[in-house]
Symmetry: D2
Subunit: 348 residues, 4 copies
């Protein structure tokens, strides 16, 4: 009954096996091996677009490098207030961008409200140096609230990005989870919508350590090679990431794993909705559920071995959560089983 | 006949196997799992000292974080001119330390000459703000020239560090190779000599991706947690590094692998010394050889499938290398075989 | 009728004269001249404390260096949302501190509410690396809203700073204006309250370019010399700043100038309160007034030659400002005359 | 007999007077006043080119901002080893450029040797990320050795800059001194030669504090406004710099002052050459002389009140300076008089 985070899971056997297979023999280092090239090519096929691929070690690295590539002095990066870049990266985007500032947009349920986003951007009119200048927009798909932007919602954000000449970055730590929910192609969720830079995450979805920064405009790749190396993210034995992605993308394993973890979340959601002691705080579109429970119920569950985190109650929910209730986050993963879910629901 | 670099090898089977074993089950993330703790404890035992351990993704990250922790405005970092931090990290130490400057010491054969080191430090007298201030000393063991500092030579460097109140960092990308050459304990090569920060490398010696920054003064660890996280080097599934180190340290595998690669280098060295068409540029103490060959010989070898790199001829060798000769680097690894070496020597 | 800003004024004649007097003769450079030393000593007397003084060129430099000296990776700097460091310095604090983040506290009328400040600090519990860590508190005196913290209010802030081991910085761009309003000594408004670092501004109060960063703990001065030099704020002919401060502090000129500009603001405030077409948005304690006017009235005044800025209406005022009204800022200075004020009031 | 530095002098009376004249009245702040505009226009006339002008507080700021505008990750800035940016700015160029590295070129007498410069650039071939990438070339005119690049020598440097697509910056801390020596126009010494960015110094030549960063390509100005503001170099009462430059440029005062200080250096040089106890280390082309004296003679002169600095003996001079001799730097300024020079020569 581990619902604490999808990164508490290890690696999927097929991915582990691919890594073992790649462990023998010699291969040129620093991202130049045949396997690196093969996976890069595969990603161009997956995205139906000529892409530049940069393997890195963490999602934070992918996000920070993407934002750093858009760097401007006195720059503001627009994001949802609860975005991982804003609350969970210990200032990495600021560090990588030499002090750009996160400009949080307050919107409900993890998705930036386009009107609020635009209002925030307008606070920094061109040429008024005192306040700094807009620099980039970043959105998370699936969001940190477990919700998913619809394609029209991505369009709304990207039309603002275009209007203000701001690059649009997508933090895809749970890209696959969103993709299978929307039922669209990778292209339809990214460059066809105007996304320019993508943090393509494999780690939360069954890899050990496989993250790729994907540039839909390969012309921007020349500088990125130096940005990545300078930030200590160019791996000598880069094929250990390539091998994971190789298996991840083969035979749509990545989509199957995402379907599985989303399915586990759905099963959990149904059980919760059917129960009298719990309810969903808002509908989920991925493998993360936010659940309102009586605090005593939560404690009992945790004592019984269920692992999940307390979560701060957002303003908009304040009036609908009573004093003896709490908000909790439950995350499923490729490794979650029906038995895990059912054991939890039974105790509930 | 791959002698290009030890990072062209993959992972040793025991390490790959350990990783597979660790791939199942749930474990808490971000370096807090039982396996992380176990390996940290093991490293304290290996070093006979209470150490703080920070797993990171690359040697460049370990080096840069070590130096960043000593940060001073206008700071100078003293290193050998050929040090990896000075010539192969694309400005990562500068980036992590917000613009500290590398102060290269010109010395022969990869080892800093203590007198030259001290002369360089003296260029920045206390309180003279225009030139900046000394900040740290970093030495590589084994060096980039394949040589090894003796324990008395480490003492000489560290007594300068102490005298000028500078932290002493050791880049141990090839730590094990030096250790088995000297035949001393890890403690005797580090904190007993005055080394305060160590980049403990596993990648070049049989791991996929296993680097640890080791602090011999755990009191300095508090800030390092933030430095590491901020530079995107805290891995969610940190156990994938821990699992590699677990196998690496178990039953002295790491020492056996180093002995093997050093042995391969020795075998190669002996064959070269016995040949008429090649000679060693200087004696090696690790798994790297620098060899003077007729350019035509080198080209023939390369055509025959031997892979190794040309190397710039250092000043002190200029007069002893003729116009039709070149300098070449040969690196062995845990994966080098007698057959590889003998095939090379036979062609030579 | 120039009420746009106190930095639209030039320099007071006594200060200009002092500079001319200092223009002849030779003096050692980079802050080491007798005049530099004399003024530093004078400041220790003014503050009744042994202080370290760093002349710099702008208030932004003083603020940014103060904050940079408290630097921590992933650091958060707590300030009022409308603080100059947060809205008017184009990311300078972030740049100088290598990416620390401003953590704005929403409080009314320019003064941080201690409870809200503490709640904000508590969002970053020790050791939780993901969110970063508290690093410093900065308060502005007089505030950007023209108000002034009482000594007890400074105490409330500084007791929080002490509790969380955070250095307390005061942005004193309008230090003198606040001081004469409170009627306390410089010591009573700073180190006796727990302020550790002070940006002591002379520019807005009759100097051309005279700002000093004052450290009440001179032990912190050693690093600051390097921080200042590295940020290009060490002036070769430093005596041109010293000469301004020399005249500024002599015979309490600085206090007289502040009393004058505050008096002009009071005269303006009284006239506004007596009028039917204007009212104060909130009471002022310095030389800045925030005034609610009918937009048509404001436009007429501006057409008639009055110069002052529109100001965004803060949330808490939203309900008390009608659609045909606007908020405007009026700033007086040492150069404002009774005639200026009366001309404005007459037109009003 | 003050020959320590041209920044030990104060301000020329005409410049001081201009500043007093500008001290009255109101003027819009932050570089937008009529006087700012007037001086900017004047500079376009002086340079016979449409230029973007950025007033800053120090030469270090102008240099660092110029280099920061050319910023590249892992970037190398090529300069003479003795360049002010390399030895006297405490890491400011590194700080402003987020960790770019100075790549010193060893050449005699302050002027970079084009062949050595190119050899240094070639060390960083395109696309080889490990070593970083070339980013900018900076040259000082007049040089730190008191010499002056001829126009053909500037051409030689700038043709290398063009070939490698590197922006060429000129540190003109003693621009006027070089200009009057060459007897060319400002245009002929800068953009007509291929210089793109110029630090135009007034401080050493009779101003208090007047430095301007001049961009010959105004298209690069948009970002510079933010870079300058972010580094705390945008002065609120910017007219105090403008007023100095206004007088400086009027009626060729700047050229007259440079002719005077160069003339004083010449008078000094002639006397030294005529003496038996001193000789020039190399010929000067500006207001700086490097002189070889018996140490006992130097000490006697210093005891008698002459102020000048010891200087490290460069390698190329080592064999021609005896053990009882030393190298000394003598600098003249607008404030040096015939009497000063003659008093010194008499004692010599």
């Amino acid at each position: 009954m581990i619902f604490s985070s999808d990164n508490w899971a290890g690696a999927h056997p097929i991915i582990a096996e691919s890594l073992v297979k790649a462990s023998t023999g010699f291969a040129s280092a620093y991202g130049t091996s045949d396997l690196d090239r093969k996976v890069e090519k595969k990603l161009s096929e997956v995205f139906e677009h000529d892409v530049a691929v940069f393997f890195v070690g963490t999602g934070t690295a992918a996000n920070s490098l993407a934002l750093a590539s858009a760097n401007k002095p006195g720059g503001h990066i627009f994001c949802h207030r609860e975005a991982h870049v804003n609350v969970d990266e210990c200032g990495a985007p600021e560090f990588f961008s030499h002090g750009a500032r996160m400009a949080p947009v307050d919107s409900e349920n993890g998705r930036m409200d386009p009107a609020k986003l635009e209002a925030e951007i307008k606070r920094f009119p061109p040429g008024f140096v005192h306040g700094g200048q807009p620099m980039a927009i970043t959105m998370t798909q699936a969001t940190e609230a477990g919700t998913v932007y619809g394609v029209d919602e991505i369009d709304a954000i990207s039309s603002i990005a275009r209007h203000y000449h701001l690059p649009l970055h997508m933090d895809g730590a749970r890209f696959a989870n969103a993709l299978v929910t929307l039922g669209v192609t990778p292209a339809e969720m990214t460059w066809k919508r105007g996304v320019e830079l993508l943090s393509f995450g494999g780690t939360k979805n069954g890899c050990w350590c496989a993250e790729a920064l994907i540039l839909f405009n390969p012309a921007r790749a020349a500088e990125m090679h130096y940005l990545r190396k300078r930030s200590a993210q160019l791996f000598s034995k880069s094929r250990f990431i390539a091998a994971q992605f190789d298996a991840y993308l083969e035979n749509d394993l990545w989509l199957d794993l995402a379907k599985h973890s989303n399915g586990m979340a759905e099963r959990l959601a149904k059980g919760i909705e059917a129960s009298t002691s719990a309810r969903l705080a808002w509908p989920s579109g991925s493998n993360e559920l936010f659940v309102i429970l009586k605090k005593t119920v939560a404690e009992t569950l945790q004592k019984d071995g269920a692992v999940f985190y307390d979560w701060p109650v957002p303003h908009q929910l304040a009036s609908s959560v009573t004093a003896d209730e709490g908000l909790y986050r439950l995350v499923t993963s490729f490794a979650t089983t029906d038995a895990d879910v059912d054991a939890f629901l039974k105790r509930l």
